[in-house]
Each structure stands twice: as structure tokens, then as C-alpha cells.
């Protein structure tokens, strides 16, 4: 099992979710996050003074998948979340030792 953490734009959530649905991935955890990458922050104005906010709001998708699905999921997210502009986000993959479904008690890939 692998954990895929994808940082994406808010506006791309529907597209990504629909596309993942299409390849059979339904479980995910989505979190509002703030972060910085190559994209600079944004500048606000308040009574003639400028205020630069360094961190941009993004969404983080956390998806645990069987090993054989990793490439497919990454490809799907990368394609659907892309706009071509700076700030499209990143995808990180790491290993997961164990998974347990609380209701059924199933473990491993069966728990996903």
C-alpha cells in the first residue's frame, strides 16, 4: 500500500474526484491547507498600505491505494489538476505499513 498526498488547487477538486471515481478510487481525505512553493503569495491593500500574504490556500488530498494502482492514480491526478500555470501543486508518495477497516476488521488491501 502507498499513501499519495496531492496538493492541488481548490477549483480542481471536482475534476480530480470525478476522474479518480472513473478509475475506481473512491476513498480519500481532503484537507484545507496553506503553503508556499514556487508560486508567490498574494498582496492585499488596507487603507493604502500593502500587505503580502506568503502562503496560498490549497487543498491536500490523502489517498491510500494498493501498490499496483499508484502509477495510474498519480497520472490521473497530474493530468486533471494541471492548468499549466505556476501553483498547480505537488504529489508525494510514501509507503503505508498497515490499514484496518474499523467496522469490518478487514486489513491490508481489503481495508481500502
Amino acid at each position: 500500500m502507498k499513501k499519495i498526498e496531492a496538493i492541488i488547487r481548490h477549483i480542481k477538486l471536482d475534476d480530480v474526484k470525478t476522474a479518480l471515481d472513473g478509475i475506481g478510487i473512491r476513498g480519500m481525505t481532503v484537507t484545507d491547507v496553506k503553503g508556499a512553493g514556487k508560486q508567490k503569495g498574494y498582496t492585499e491593500q488596507w487603507r493604502g498600505s500593502k500587505l503580502t500574504v506568503f502562503l496560498n490556500p490549497k487543498l491536500e488530498l490523502k489517498i491510500i491505494v494498493p501498490d499496483d494502482m499508484v502509477a495510474k492514480v498519480i497520472e490521473t491526478i497530474a493530468q486533471t489538476a494541471r492548468t499549466g500555470e505556476i501553483g498547480d501543486g505537488k504529489i508525494f508518495v510514501s509507503g503505508v505499513e498497515e490499514a484496518v477497516a474499523i467496522r469490518t476488521g478487514a486489513s491490508g488491501n481489503d481495508a481500502l
Binding site: 488596507w46 493604502g48 500587505l51
Partner: protein, 548 residues
């Protein structure tokens, strides 16, 4: 379920039919009778007539005297009703101030800021009843538009005709009277408007216990003092009668009595408190600390404009004075010109039509027209608003970048500077169409541009006086209070936000921006333990700017 609804529907239909038939029957009865007896008056034209006079003026009791009494009673009714409508409208401005100030400041101080705007009202009522009203109005004589039965004849004078303080009516004694208590209520909400203005400039760092003492001070002493000199028959109002300066110092609804008083006490308070942590850099350059809820501030601005209908319109003290429509028209012309001027200037200067400054511009227009609204023509009201809209931007930047004083909501510029402009504009643009008899001077109020330099001189004297009383008196008070008990919260409390340590509760507990995440519960239940180290300011400014 369906069955019971059907039964109700059938019953209702039957009842409706019954009433309809009964109505037709009654109409038939009427047409059959010989004398046209009116039993209903759908268009209202027959309602109110000789038969509605009070019993003491009917039948054999109807004399010229009883009829005149009836007319006089109704004339005072127009005064009392309009005054109570005005009281309600101005009271609602308290909500406007609460929303405006809280919207312009940060989420972590929302309970504290909103709380001050409510509690100042209650403190003010008590102070006003005990001491404030008597000091201000205890020597103003008879209230002619309100019956004038009680003679408020207690005035302390330094010389004949130079009153400085009223002395009648302490804790309600001698003013248990329908007319006077109506006036008491109306003037109460004006005082509370002045009292709540400084909380905006002093918010996000003002210690609550010091705030409570301040509330009693302004409602019992400082506001009534200057107010007596202008509205209570005191020396400024007598500049015309005693020295021939126009109609004496005039401030129709309170550009200075209420607004400049609040604005310059605000400046004094903000100076004594010092700037919020993080407002100014080491080189003195200012940082933006945006408010957390602009929609709230916009709503507050609209509430204030709504309340101003009563603030200016009801300051005629009677609905029988039809100048009130001119006054309200002038009020909204100035409001509009102030707001639009501020919007265009910000747009031109900084690239965006800054809505927070547009709010301030509209309010500055309202503050400026408050003194002259009864005495000037509509074109002058437009000009007064336009100048106020420009003045408030210059004023906000002047306070922040030249005086280096931190005024989170712009109260000093909006209420202080625009207030002074308002009384000056009265001395310039008053066109001699209104105000004959004001302050015991027979001619109508006429400004410099219409040939009466004396009026402008009186206005200048009053404007200087309010700055001395409000800024000087406020500064001494806050300085002394600061030496006795300290008026500013600790820097730990300020960085954390005043809501938890000062008030014990958060405004938005589930909103991550309302408190920094290092806040951990203390055994006392109130925020961070004393002496806990706090993060450096640099890391706080990394936040979105709305929360911490």
C-alpha cells in the same frame, strides 16, 4: 395527517364564505338607511374630526380655550413622537458602531471590541442619569417644543450670562416630567454615541477595567461639560447674545458636541495607549493590520447612516418643524458625496476603490453635515460632504504616517477632523433661511459667505475649545488613569488576542483564525499561563493577517 388538513381547509372556506355573506348584508343595511352613517373608512379621509377631541373639549365644554389647549397638546405630541422616533434611530447607531469597529479589527479581539460597544451604553445610561444630564442641561430653561412645564433653572455662572455647568436634576430629582424625560432619552443616545467613538481608536489593547472607568468619566463629566457650553445654555452658546458674534456658537446636531468630542478623546486615548504591537516598524513605517470582517463593517456603516436620520432629523426637537426634511436631504447628500469622493480618491491613489475607506468617507460626510445640516442649502451640503470625503483620507494617513498614532478604525479622522470641518462649514455656508431666535439672537443664522463674519468667529472659538477640552481633558484623564492602574493589557494578552485573557471567551471558537494555535488551556481556564513565552512578531505576521 392529510385528513386533518382537509378538515381545516373546509372549515376555513366555510368561515370565509360566512364573513363574505355577512359583509354584503351589512352593506345592504347601509344603502337602505336615510342618513349616511359611516361605519368604516377605508381611505381614511373621514377619520379624525371634531368628535375626536378629548372630552374636555366636546359639547358644552368646547370653547376657544379648550380648543386651543387641544391644538397645543397636539403640537407637543408632534414633538414627543418625533423625538422618540429619533431616540430609537440614534439608539440603533450603537449597533452600527459595534459592527463597524469589530469588522475593522481582528477576530481574536471581537468579543472585547463588540463588548465595549454594548457595555459603554449601559454605563453611559447610569452616568447620564446620575450626573451627566444635570450637568449638561440643568440650566437650559424651559423645553418649549416639549411643553416646557419644568424650568431647568440651575446654572453655575462665572459672570452674568456666562454659564459653565448645570446643577438641576441630579439622579432624576426635579425632572420627573413627561417632556423633560423625553428630552433626557433623546440626549442620552447622543452622549452614548460620543462615548463609544473612542473605543474604536483604542480597541485591541484597552484594558477592560480601565475602559469601565473611562465610560463613567466621559458620560458624567467630559461630555456634559462641553455639551453644556453649546446646547445647555452655557458660555459658547451666549457668544452671540453677549458679544454679538452671530447666533453664538452653533452645532445643530453635534459635529463637535458629539463627534469631535469622541474623535479627540479617541486621539488622546490612542496616544496614551501607544500603537498595537506590530503596527509600526522600527523606522516608523506603518504596517497594514486588516480587519477580519469587512461585510460586518459595511453593514455597520449602513446602520449608522440609517440612525443619522434621527440624529440630524430629530434634532429639530419637534416634528412640527418641517425644516426636518431639508435637514435629512442635506444629511444624505453629504453622506453620498463623502463616500463617493473617498472611493474615487482611493481608486486613483492606490489603484482600488477601497471599501473600508469608502465607509469612512460616507461617515465623514455625515459627521461634517451634522452641525450645518439645518442652516445650509443642498448644494452646500454636497460640497461639505465632498470635502469631508477627501479630508478623511488625508486625516487617516496623517494620523498614521505623520502623528504615528495607531487608530485601527479611523475614528480620529472621521469624527475629529470631519467634526471640526462641520462647524467651520456652518460658519461659512449658513444662508440665513433658518434659525431666527437661536441662542436668543433674533436674526437667522448667517455665515461668512452670506455676510456675517461674526458667526464664523464664534464657530472658530467653539472648534478650538472642543479640541482643548476633548484632547486635553482626555489626555490628562487617560494619563492619570494609566499611572494609577495601567490602561493597556500585557503584550502576551495583546498577541494572544484580548478575548480569552480579558473576557474569558472566544468570538469564533471553531474558526482557526480567532486564536493562535499555541494557546493552551490553563488550569484557571483562561488562556496561556502567565509568563509563557510567546512567538516573535515576525512569525505572527506570517499568518494570513486576519487572525493573529
Amino acid at each position: 395527517m392529510g385528513r386533518s388538513i382537509r378538515i381545516i381547509l373546509i372549515t376555513a372556506t366555510a368561515l370565509a364564505l360566512l364573513f363574505a355573506i355577512a359583509g354584503v348584508a351589512t352593506a345592504d343595511d347601509q344603502s337602505g338607511g336615510s342618513a349616511p352613517v359611516v361605519t368604516m373608512d377605508p381611505n381614511g379621509s373621514a377619520t379624525g374630526g371634531a368628535s375626536d377631541l378629548s372630552p374636555s373639549a366636546q359639547g358644552n365644554s368646547l370653547t376657544l380655550k379648550s380648543l386651543a389647549d387641544e391644538v397645543g397638546h397636539n403640537r407637543v405630541a408632534a414633538g414627543i413622537i418625533w423625538l422618540m422616533v429619533g431616540f430609537a434611530l440614534v439608539f440603533f447607531m450603537q449597533a452600527g458602531f459595534a459592527l463597524l469597529e469589530t469588522g475593522f479589527t481582528r477576530a481574536k479581539n471581537a468579543v472585547h471590541t463588540m463588548g465595549m460597544n454594548m457595555v459603554i451604553f449601559f454605563i453611559g445610561v447610569i452616568g447620564w442619569f446620575l450626573v451627566g444630564f444635570p450637568l449638561m442641561f440643568g440650566g437650559m430653561g424651559h423645553l418649549t417644543t416639549l411643553g416646557g412645564i419644568v424650568n431647568l433653572d440651575g446654572m453655575l455662572e462665572v459672570a452674568k450670562g456666562w454659564g459653565i455647568i448645570g446643577t438641576k436634576g441630579f439622579a432624576g430629582s426635579g425632572i420627573y416630567d413627561a417632556g423633560v424625560l423625553g428630552f433626557f432619552l433623546f440626549q442620552l443616545v447622543f452622549m452614548d454615541t460620543a462615548a463609544t467613538i473612542p473605543t474604536g481608536a483604542m480597541t485591541e489593547r484597552f484594558k477592560w477595567s480601565a475602559f469601565v472607568i473611562y465610560g463613567f468619566f466621559i458620560s458624567m463629566i467630559l461630555y456634559p461639560l462641553f455639551g453644556n457650553w453649546v446646547w445647555g445654555g452655557g458660555w459658547l452658546s451666549q457668544l452671540g447674545a453677549n458679544l454679538g458674534l452671530g447666533n453664538g456658537y452653533l452645532d445643530f446636531a453635534g459635529s463637535t458636541v458629539v463627534h469631535a468630542m469622541g474623535g479627540f478623546v479617541a486621539l488622546a486615548g490612542a496616544i496614551v495607549l501607544g500603537a498595537r504591537i506590530g503596527k509600526f516598524n522600527k523606522d516608523g513605517s506603518p504596517n497594514a493590520i486588516p480587519g477580519h470582517h469587512i461585510p460586518m463593517a459595511v453593514l455597520g456603516t449602513l446602520f449608522l447612516a440609517f440612525g443619522w436620520i434621527g440624529f440630524n432629523g430629530a434634532s429639530t426637537l419637534t416634528g412640527a418643524d418641517f425644516r426636518l426634511t431639508v435637514i435629512i436631504a442635506n444629511t444624505f447628500l453629504a453622506c453620498a458625496f463623502g463616500g463617493v469622493t473617498a472611493m474615487f480618491l482611493m481608486w486613483k491613489a492606490f489603484g482600488k476603490p477601497d471599501i473600508s475607506m469608502t465607509c469612512n468617507g460616507a461617515l465623514a460626510g455625515l459627521v461634517a453635515i451634522t452641525a450645518p445640516c439645518a442652516f445650509v442649502a443642498p448644494w452646500a451640503a454636497c460640497l461639505i460632504g465632498l470635502v469631508a470625503g477627501a479630508l478623511v483620507i488625508g486625516g487617516v494617513l496623517f494620523v498614521e504616517r505623520v502623528l504615528k498614532v495607531d487608530d485601527p478604525v479611523g475614528a480620529v479622522a472621521v469624527h475629529g477632523f470631519a467634526g471640526l470641518w462641520g462647524v467651520s462649514a456652518l460658519g461659512l455656508f449658513a444662508d440665513g433661511t433658518y434659525g431666527a431666535g437661536d441662542n436668543g439672537v433674533t436674526h437667522a443664522v448667517t455665515g461668512l459667505f452670506y455676510g456675517n463674519a461674526g458667526q464664523f468667529a464664534a464657530q472658530a472659538i467653539g472648534a478650538v475649545t472642543v479640541v482643548i477640552v476633548a484632547l486635553g481633558g482626555g489626555y490628562v484623564f487617560f494619563k492619570v488613569l494609566d499611572m494609577i492602574m495601567g490602561i493597556r493589557v500585557s503584550s502576551e494578552e495583546e498577541i494572544q488576542g484580548l478575548d480569552l485573557p480579558q473576557m474569558g471567551t472566544l468570538a469564533y471558537p471553531d474558526f482557526s483564525g480567532s486564536a493562535p494555535d499555541w494557546v493552551t488551556p490553563h488550569p484557571s481556564g483562561l488562556g496561556a499561563p502567565p509568563g509563557k513565552t510567546v512567538p516573535a512578531i515576525a512569525s505572527i505576521s506570517m499568518d494570513e493577517g486576519t487572525g493573529a
